[in-house]
C-alpha cells in the first residue's frame, strides 16, 4: 500500500482565549512507498504524533488529503481505513487475557467480514506466532514484561490484516537492552508481513537503525525525507544536521572572506562561498588530529570509550564543548585538527544549507 499525503494540515484551536491556533501539521505533502518502514522523526511537539493520528483517522485534517493507494481515505472513519495501530503505552485491555486482546478487533467485524470462532482463533494464533508469544495467550497483560506487552500490542494490530501498520513511539517504554532487541524484532515482523509501516519516534538512533526511509519533522513541517544515511550525510538544513547523530554535530559561527572560512578570525578552509557570516557544522568524526591542522582548539581532556576515543576541547567560535571522535590508539594530546571532507556543512544565518559552488 502506497500512502500519499497531499497538502495535509491540522490546526488546533487555541488552548486559551488569548492563545493563537496551533499548526500541528502544516501543509505536509509526502509519499510513502509500498511495503516500506518509514520513520517519522522529530522532537516532541513537532507534529509527528498528530500525523500518525491523522493517518489512522483518530483526527480529521483541517485541510488536505490522505490517499491509500488510489483510495481517498481522508473522510473515512478509523475502522474503515484498515489500519493497525500500536500505542505508546500499548493500550492493552488489562482485564482481558492476551488471546482475548488479540481477538478483540476480530470480534468487531460485522456483515460480510464476520468470521467464525474457529477462523478468529486461527487468525489470532497466526498473529501470536508471528510475534512469538504463543505460550503467553492465557496471561493477563499485567503478568507480562514490557517487551511481551509490546509484542501483544503488535499482534493485536496485525490480526485484522491491516493495510497499514502505525507504531507510536513503540520502544519508549522499554529499557535500553530490550529496545535494541525489539527494534530488530519490529524490523523482522515488518519484513515478514510486507505491510507499509509508519513508526513515530523522537530517537534518531532508533529511526536510523531500522527504517527504510525517515522523515524529519519540526514545527509541523517536513524538514527532510530520505534514506537515513543519505540524510545524515547530506542534511538539508541546520535543524536536520543538529537533530541527527550522536554525539551531536558541533556548530560554529564563522565568517567567509575571500573564499576562505574563518573561525575566530583564524583561516580554516578555502571554500567557494560568497562573503559573509555563516554557520558551520562539523560532525564529531570529522575532526582529524593533525599537528599542522588549521583548527586550533583548547585541549581539555580525553575520554576513552572503548572502540573510540573522544578528545574534549573548546573553541571560541563554538558555544558548546567539542567532542572529537577519533580512533583509539592514536596518541593525541593535541587539539589541532584538520577537517574531513563531507563531515562539514555550511548554513546561512537562517539555518538553510549553503552548497559549495564548484
Amino acid at each position: 500500500m502506497k500512502i500519499t499525503l497531499k497538502n495535509l494540515s491540522k490546526i488546533f484551536p487555541p488552548q486559551t482565549k488569548k492563545g493563537s491556533p496551533v499548526h500541528a501539521v502544516d501543509k505536509v505533502s509526502l509519499e510513502i512507498p509500498d511495503g516500506k518502514l518509514l520513520g517519522l522523526l522529530g522532537p516532541s511537539g513537532c507534529g509527528k504524533s498528530t500525523m500518525l493520528n491523522l493517518l489512522c483517522g483518530l483526527l480529521t485534517p483541517t485541510e488536505g488529503e490522505i490517499l491509500f493507494d488510489e483510495d481517498n481515505v481522508t473522510a473515512l472513519a478509523p475502522q474503515h481505513r484498515g489500519v493497525g495501530m500500536v500505542f505508546q503505552n500499548y493500550a492493552l485491555y488489562p482485564h482481558l487475557t492476551v488471546l482475548q486482546n488479540i481477538l478483540f478487533p476480530l470480534e468487531n467485524l460485522k456483515g460480510k467480514e464476520k468470521l467464525t470462532r474457529a477462523q478468529m482463533l486461527s487468525r489470532a494464533r497466526e498473529a501470536a506466532g508471528l510475534v512469538q508469544i504463543q505460550e503467553l495467550l492465557d496471561r493477563k497483560p499485567a503478568q507480562l514484561s514490557g517487551g511481551q506487552q509490546q509484542r501483544v500490542a503488535i499482534a493485536r494490530a496485525l490480526v485484522k490484516l491491516p493495510r497499514v501498520l502505525l507504531l507510536d513511539e513503540p520502544l519508549s517504554n522499554l529499557d535500553a537492552r530490550l529496545r535494541l532487541q525489539t527494534r530488530e524484532e519490529i524490523k523482522r515482523i515488518q519484513k515478514a508481513t510486507g505491510i507499509t509501516t509508519v513508526f513515530v519516534t523522537h530517537d534518531q538512533e532508533e529511526a536510523m537503525s531500522i527504517c527504510d526511509e525517515i522523515v524529519v519533522m519540526d514545527k509541523g513541517q517536513i524538514q527532510q525525507m530520505g534514506h537515513p544515511q543519505k540524510i545524515y550525510d547530506d542534511p538539508a538544513n541546520l535543524f536536520v544536521a543538529k537533530f541527527l547523530g550522536t554525539p551531536p554535530i558541533h556548530v560554529f559561527s564563522g565568517n567567509i572572506a575571500d573564499k576562505t572560512l574563518y573561525l575566530d578570525n583564524a583561516p580554516i578552509l578555502p571554500v567557494n562561498l560568497p562573503d559573509g557570516e555563516v554557520t558551520v557544522a562539523i560532525r564529531p568524526e570529522g575532526f582529524l588530529p593533525d599537528e599542522t591542522g588549521a583548527l586550533q582548539c583548547q585541549f581539555q581532556g580525553l575520554e576513552v570509550m572503548g572502540r573510540d576515543t573522544a578528545i574534549l576541547c573548546t573553541h571560541p567560535a563554538c558555544a558548546a564543548p567539542i567532542r572529537a571522535i577519533v580512533e583509539s590508539g592514536i596518541a593525541c594530546d593535541t587539539a589541532r585538527f584538520s577537517i574531513k571532507q563531507g563531515k562539514i556543512f555550511f548554513f546561512d544565518t537562517n539555518g538553510n544549507r549553503l552548497y559549495l559552488g564548484d
Binding site: G57, L58, L59, T60, A77
Partner: protein, 275 residues
C-alpha cells in the same frame, strides 16, 4: 475527529440538575413567603409575589435557632480540632516511629474500622449517661473525637513522605514533634484539609448521637433543632418560618462548599463514604 454532543445528554443532565436544585429553590422561595400568603395557596405557587424577611426574624426570635447555631459551631470547631490532634498524633506514631507492638496495634486499628457506629452507640449512651454527661458539650464531643478511618487515611499519606527527610531532620537535631509540625504536616496538608473538611461536614449534620444525648434545647445542634422546630416549632404549622430556619441552617455548608468546591470534592472522592 469532531463529535457533536448529543443534545439528549444535555437534556438529561439538566433534568437531574433541576431535580437537585428544586428543593433548594422551594426552600428559599417559601422562606420569603408570608405566613398568610403561603396558607392561602391551594395550588402551590412557584414564585413569591410579596417577599418578606419576617420569617427569618421569626426563626431567630420565636425559636432558639441562634442557640442551635452557636452550639453547632462550638461543637464542630472543638470536635474537629481535638479529632485532628488525636488522629494526627496516632497516624504519626504509626507511620514514622518504631516501637514494640506497632504493627500489631495497626492491624487491630484496621480491624476496628469495620465496626459500625450503630453497634457501639448503645453502650456509649449508657456510659455517657452514667457519667452524668448528658446535656453537656463534653458528652456530645467525647465519642466523636477519634476516627480509625481518618487515622488510616493520614497514616497512608504520612508513610509516603521519604524517610530521608526524617533522618535529615534528626541529624539537624529536630525533635519528633517539631518534625511532625514543621515537615510532615506541611507536606501532607492536602490530606489534613480533606480530613478536616469531612469532619466538619459530618459534625454539622450529625443527628443521632446529639439526639440521644441531649434533651435540653439549650444543647441542641441544628439537626435536632430542625426536628424540634418541625414537631413543636412555632406553635403552629408555620411552614415559611420553618423554611427560613432550614435556609439558615443549610447556608453555612453551602457557602463553604462554593468557596472550597474543588478541595471538598477531591476530599470526598478520596475519603468520603456517605451514600
Amino acid at each position: 475527529m469532531k463529535k457533536q454532543t448529543n443534545p439528549l445528554i444535555y437534556i438529561f443532565l439538566t433534568l437531574w440538575g433541576i431535580l437537585v436544585l428544586f428543593p433548594f429553590y422551594w426552600m428559599v422561595m417559601t422562606a420569603f413567603k408570608s405566613y398568610s400568603a403561603y396558607n392561602a395557596e391551594f395550588i402551590p405557587q412557584l414564585f413569591v409575589s410579596d417577599p418578606t424577611w419576617e420569617n427569618f426574624t421569626q426563626a431567630f426570635t420565636a425559636v432558639p435557632l441562634g442557640t442551635y447555631f452557636a452550639n453547632t459551631v462550638i461543637f464542630t470547631l472543638i470536635t474537629t480540632a481535638v479529632m485532628l490532634l488525636v488522629t494526627v498524633l496516632a497516624a504519626f506514631g504509626f507511620s514514622r516511629l518504631r516501637f514494640p507492638g506497632r504493627d500489631l496495634a495497626f492491624t487491630v486499628f484496621l480491624a476496628l474500622m469495620m465496626v459500625p457506629s450503630e453497634l457501639v452507640v448503645i453502650t456509649n449512651f449508657v456510659t455517657v449517661s452514667s457519667l452524668d454527661l448528658r446535656n453537656t458539650f463534653l458528652g456530645l464531643i467525647l465519642p466523636s473525637v477519634t476516627s480509625v478511618f481518618y487515622i488510616y487515611l493520614l497514616r497512608e499519606n504520612f508513610s509516603q513522605v521519604p524517610d530521608e527527610l526524617y533522618y535529615a531532620a534528626k541529624v539537624d537535631g529536630t525533635s519528633d514533634l517539631k518534625y511532625l509540625w514543621k515537615v510532615m504536616l506541611p507536606i501532607c496538608r492536602p490530606t489534613v484539609i480533606t480530613v478536616t473538611i469531612l469532619k466538619v461536614i459530618e459534625c454539622w449534620n450529625s443527628y443521632v448521637w446529639p439526639r440521644l444525648i441531649t434533651d435540653d434545647q439549650a444543647y441542641f445542634l441544628v439537626s435536632n433543632g430542625i426536628q424540634e422546630i418541625r414537631e413543636n416549632g412555632f406553635g403552629r404549622d408555620n411552614i415559611p418560618a420553618m423554611m427560613a430556619s432550614v435556609v439558615v441552617i443549610s447556608l453555612p455548608l453551602i457557602v463553604l462548599f462554593l468557596i472550597f468546591r474543588k478541595k471538598i470534592m477531591a476530599g470526598v472522592a478520596r475519603g468520603g463514604t456517605k451514600g
